[in-house]
Symmetry: C3
Subunit: 276 residues, 3 copies
């Protein structure tokens, strides 16, 4: 199959995943940070999923047993959330429920969370997503980051990330262009679009991780990552065409997350395939 044929197939699978998301409205357990919790829940609702921010250790097992997908984000962990992450990840791993790991701030400065991420890898996340600094650090490189923001380009990192495919079927790196590494397909997908304003809205990366989890309830890890990245890239591009400052951008971005449909996916999806 040529790259052109494969691209068409992938886009059809993305549209199918979007349609299923609307039909099934899957339940998504999110253990996320204090900055992202409201925003990620609103993104999931706008996109068609059912978020539940269950992040205490006392209900983590019973809830992970019923959820359709799990999203774990290390942004501002508490001791109780850390316990909930371990319990929930172990539970969904046993049940073969898909889950997404977002190792926010991974690196030598933030050791507590980085050590938890190392433990969580044992529960085989369906997708690992992060910015270039986080993914590069996770791939064992010595990286400079600026707090929880990346200081390097996603273009320079995606080849480093190949070694992470031993932990997960799919690695998704966000940046000016996004890169999705797929073990299943043996290739890299570059997703273009979005807007330079997107990193000016906090928690967009965190909400993207939650949306990948939502899609993973209705499709494969690679298609889930691709669908969520396209969903964000198209909404970001269209919002930016209408509006140029960050407060209004965020409102219109949420509008487009909600109104995106298969026609818009067909018209605006901008991605290309790269050999691994």
């Amino acid at each position: 199959m040529s790259f052109t044929e494969q691209k068409n197939t992938l886009l059809q699978q993305v549209i199918q995943a979007w349609t299923r998301l609307q039909e099934q409205q899957p339940l998504v357990q999110c253990i996320t940070n204090s900055v992202a919790t409201n925003y990620a829940a609103n993104i999931l609702l706008a996109a068609g999923a059912s978020p539940a921010m269950i992040d205490n250790p006392f209900e983590a097992e019973s809830f992970a047993n019923v959820t359709s997908a799990l999203s774990i984000n290390l942004g501002t962990p508490t001791t109780e959330q850390m316990q909930a992450m371990l319990i929930s990840a172990q539970t969904v791993d046993h049940k073969n429920t898909p889950w997404v790991l977002d190792p926010v701030g991974y690196g030598p400065v933030l050791k507590w969370r980085s050590s938890m991420v190392d433990q969580l890898l044992a529960f085989k996340p369906s997708v690992i997503r992060g910015n270039a600094s986080e993914i590069s650090a996770l791939a064992g490189k010595q990286v400079q980051a600026k707090g929880v923001d990346s200081t390097i380009s996603s273009h320079t990192v995606y080849r480093q990330a190949q070694c992470l495919l031993v932990h997960s079927e799919c690695i998704a790196i966000s940046g000016e262009a996004d890169f999705i590494l797929s073990r299943e397909l043996g290739l890299v997908i570059q997703v273009n679009g979005g807007s330079y304003l997107q990193p000016k809205v906090t928690a967009t990366g965190c909400a993207l991780g939650a949306l990948i989890a939502a899609y993973s309830a209705v499709t494969t890890p690679t298609i889930a990552a691709l669908a969520a990245h396209l969903h964000f890239a198209i909404a970001g591009k269209l919002a930016y065409e209408k509006i140029a400052s960050v407060g209004s951008f965020n409102v219109v971005f949420m509008d487009y997350i909600h109104t995106l449909n298969s026609e818009m996916l067909l018209q605006y999806a901008d991605f290309q395939l790269i050999s691994l």
Copy 2:
């Protein structure tokens, strides 16, 4: 008094409550979830009240002693918040300060919070509010919920909820139509309006609970529940008439929460009375 006369009396009492809310700007202590905390505070400010999100056990008693109302919401509890809930509920019960209980996620999957809700009932909440699944589970029915979202209709639940009037003067059930059961009046009030986009914005139910608490500082539990539900239903209806996607809807909804006045209450209040 006929239902028509009683409706007019209730609407006058709602308008009086709204006026008092603007004049007194009552202090409302909220112990709420991480998704709702910013949103509920903004709803209370926009509506005219003074929110204070004091949710630690070390200040719970002293603050509950000075607050004009208390709102407790079980969305994403931590151990410290659970302790604060017990202390604050006990304190306001002793002082006869009104308080609202929102048993988010009540049911067999989420046992930790459900057991806390059972304990909190001993402190006689002025109003219990929840979605249909939560209220049905609290009434002892075997219910399917989807995470923290309801899977059943408020229409089918309000008769089940009658047994809960032993715990509270008022039970408020939100859904496509809202139902308010009043022990004081011995009847059910059905509130119509709102928009199908309202459940697409996270934490609207939680913020509604906080607004009932705010109104309960200036009126009876039944009028407080009715006023808060009308406030939300009218703002939701008017926002939806202007705007059709979820990001912009949420902005305009907040605008109408702030600009609602007695004329709008008179013009748009849509509710009917049903015998218990």
Copy 3:
């Protein structure tokens, strides 16, 4: 130097600080409350800084060692955040990294946080900012507050606050007019502007404290406080000229926080100097 000359010098320093903020995008560690965390991060991003909400005690020291500024806010503390505050404040004090203390709710009702504020003063905050009730209570006066909102005017408080200059180089009091006391300059700066809608949006004071911290990474404490207050006052004034209800105001306010530039500072800065 006359007050008029001094005003011009201060405004030039503010413009220089704003320019440096855009160039350096300093990393700002925020330990803040659950209401403010998303909002403060968005304000910092919109204004040009890099927020990182690292608030756990296990990473507090290593992160405070690399941050360019620290913002500590006592709105809704947890035990773990309290530990993180002490560790981070001690760390930045050792490194001479600037930091801002926002003693939300300081006073006799909320003893736990007030006692923590008293301890934190030992680590010499670069700026202490709060509303009139908080600053008055911190200055040892017997004050009535309404929850976390002020019940007294900033005009009556700024002279009381002079005694606090033993703890900090700069005291910033927000209210209808804002007052900034500078030990370095030996005077008081009154900042006018803003909108009556600003206190109707929750966490604006908390976000202002975070923005002072961001500016303090690139200038002196006094100029940092003045720059952040002018940034807010101008954005608030311009937003209110466009829009009159609270949901839309908040969106446009964020737009102006992002689009403010040196021309707007020159045109709209409204402040005056008062002898201490």
